[in-house]
């Protein structure tokens, strides 16, 4: 039991971080970014190259991974998404193609062989007889710090309020003098950096391989659907429901079945309550 509670909290924090960058894009731009998994993959690989190949120190490498996420997020918006802004389905298709292209780029550079990442902080300790990796505790702690700062940013700063305004009513926001293009750019940059940071942690949780973008993307989709598309608080709650459900399934039933319950939950929620737990399509 202690095992499930502790591991559940640790995993859920990471899932919340993975999902929040995804939900912001939907909330502001009303589009699904299927290339979101690429920011996660990119974060992981950039950090890997910096630390394990170029032997840079960990903290600057971490920043470098975040920067890569920002650049790629902004580029996705400027190059692809802006062209198809009036057509959400075209955005989904073109970002999916982009994701597959980036997967091929990663295969080209790093081959298909999986690579393991060194933990950010090595070692483990025990609480209530549950063995915890320090790395995972650190990842969850940083996730919470990032999520907390994001909430402060969204609610207390001028630009954060502008983001919320656009997510509630893009036209109304434009009328009151908010440049939607600028807000979109900021949101895509934020989404990129959140994805890349989540990617560094996710890669230390699992491993690096060219197909690694799919699982976090599907998890983000699941979290966002269950929580209600576009709601940050809803995403946090849903990340915990899904995180705990996965850990409980892994511990008590079978590790292979955890994905099945998550997907079944998506179907049930979408069919029964398409807006999710707290969905009102605004941040």
């Amino acid at each position: 039991m202690a095992q499930v509670i502790i591991q559940g909290f640790l995993l859920s924090g990471l899932y919340a971080l993975i999902a929040v960058g995804f939900t912001m894009i939907f909330s502001v731009g009303r589009v699904l970014n299927l290339a979101y998994g690429v920011y996660i993959m990119l974060g992981g690989y950039v950090y890997y190259v910096a630390v394990q190949i170029l032997s840079l120190p960990k903290f600057p490498s971490f920043l470098l991974a975040g920067l890569a996420g920002i650049v790629f997020g902004v580029l996705t918006y400027l190059v692809l998404v802006k062209r198809f802004e009036k057509d959400p389905i075209a955005v989904e298709i073109s970002t999916l193609i982009l994701a597959v292209v980036m997967q091929a780029v990663i295969v080209l550079i790093f081959s298909t062989a999986p690579r393991s990442m060194w933990p950010l902080i090595p070692g483990r300790f025990e609480v209530f007889g549950v063995s915890i990796l320090k790395n995972i505790l650190f990842a969850t702690a940083v996730s919470w710090v990032v999520l907390g700062s994001l909430m402060v940013f969204i609610h207390k700063t001028h630009i954060g309020r502008a983001i919320r305004a656009v997510s509630m009513d893009a036209k109304g926001a434009a009328v009151s003098g908010i440049d939607p293009q600028r807000i979109n750019l900021v949101t895509w940059a934020l989404s990129g950096v959140l994805g890349a940071i989540a990617g560094v942690f996710f890669a230390t949780y699992t491993q690096l391989d060219p197909g690694m973008w799919v699982f976090p993307l599907i998890t983000a989709v699941a979290v966002v659907i269950v929580g209600g598309i576009g709601s940050i608080i809803g995403s946090l709650i849903a990340a915990h429901i899904i995180g705990f459900m996965e850990v409980a399934t892994t511990t008590w039933i079978s590790a292979d079945l955890r994905g099945v319950f998550t997907m079944a939950l998506i179907i049930v929620v979408l069919v029964v309550a398409p807006k999710g737990l707290l969905g009102k399509a605004e941040l």
Binding site: I89, V100, L108
Partner: protein, 309 residues
């Protein structure tokens, strides 16, 4: 109809000129065309975007694979059985479409695909072959030329069938659902019946294609079918060719399959897939309505009159 006749004659005369290696590529293109047409029937016009076609193709493949592998059921029974099972699967798809559409519908169908990916590995791995799948499945016909004729005929029959179907009022109704479903309802049409019908048709085509596909490959595995890259090929073939046109997805499937093959000698290894993806993205970027629309507008300009579609 004349266009189909010319196309059919051309396709049937190809084995006279081409090597068996090239014919094998055509076989793969024919399969992709069948899958893309199945996707197009359901999603091309209606706006119910399916991300779960690998789910339909996969259950057809697994049904016939398990029947033949474990029970020795002959193909002429196992393939129809697979098609029926897939049509039942298609009605599963239909249930969420009663309430949700667009992006949400796409995500539910994606969830269906992911569930099957996990289930085939976990539930009764002895029957499904688990992660490694099943291999050594019987062939329908053997050799490149018979397989070419088989897939070609099936593809043409499906294409002509869908084309005739879409030319009736159904095509208009489907397009109207894509534009404004409420308006179609209020004009007195039962949209749920129309949707159920086209979902079943789409599933049937996916079932035929999927069942033949695994017997052509001779093997089946979860990662080969319930996979986002497989979904990518189907979606992109339909969209790059031209969604909602039936002919477009065939063009898209040929374009993509041959693009990948003809890049092979020039770019070895993984670089080929990068270029393939980039070209696909560029085509989609500049012609989101697909290659078919480019050709038909060219034809209109050349002949100086409206094309017949």
């Amino acid at each position: 109809m004349r266009g189909w006749l010319v196309f059919g004659l051309l396709m049937f005369s190809l084995p006279l000129f081409l090597s068996t290696g090239t014919l094998r590529i055509f076989v793969m293109a024919n399969f992709l065309a069948i899958f893309a047409m199945s996707w197009d029937a359901l999603s091309g016009r209606t706006g119910y975007i399916s991300f779960g076609h690998p789910f339909l193709i996969g259950i057809a493949g697994y049904t016939t694979a398990m029947l033949t592998y474990h029970l020795g059921v002959p193909l002429y029974l196992s393939i129809p059985a697979a098609v029926v099972v897939t049509m039942i699967g298609g009605t599963l798809f239909f249930l969420p479409a009663l309430r949700i559409r667009g992006t949400y519908f796409a995500l539910v169908t994606l969830a269906f695909m992911e569930i099957m990916y996990h289930l085939t590995q976990v539930i009764a791995p002895k029957v499904t072959g688990g992660t490694r799948g099943l291999s050594g499945l019987p062939e329908m016909v053997s050799g490149a030329i018979p397989n070419y004729y088989l897939t070609c005929s099936v593809m043409l029959l499906i294409g002509i069938g869908l084309w005739l179907l879409i030319r009736t009022g159904l095509g208009t109704a489907l397009s109207a659902i894509g534009v404004d479903e409420e308006a179609v309802k209020s004009s007195g049409l039962n949209t749920n019946r129309i949707k159920l019908f086209i979902f079943t048709i789409s599933a049937m085509i996916a079932g035929i294609g999927g069942a033949l596909y695994v017997h052509y490959l001779g093997s089946i595995a979860p990662r080969a079918l319930f996979d986002i890259n497989f979904l990518f090929s189907i979606l992109v073939a339909a969209l790059v060719g031209g969604a909602g046109t039936i002919v477009g997805p065939i063009m898209g499937a040929y374009f993509l399959t041959f693009l990948l093959e003809y890049l092979r000698p020039y770019i070895p290894g993984a670089g080929r897939f990068v270029l393939y993806g980039v070209i696909t993205l560029v085509v989609y970027y500049f012609a989101p309505k697909g290659l078919y629309s480019i050709f038909s507008s060219l034809r209109q300009r050349l002949s100086g009159k409206a094309g017949t579609g």
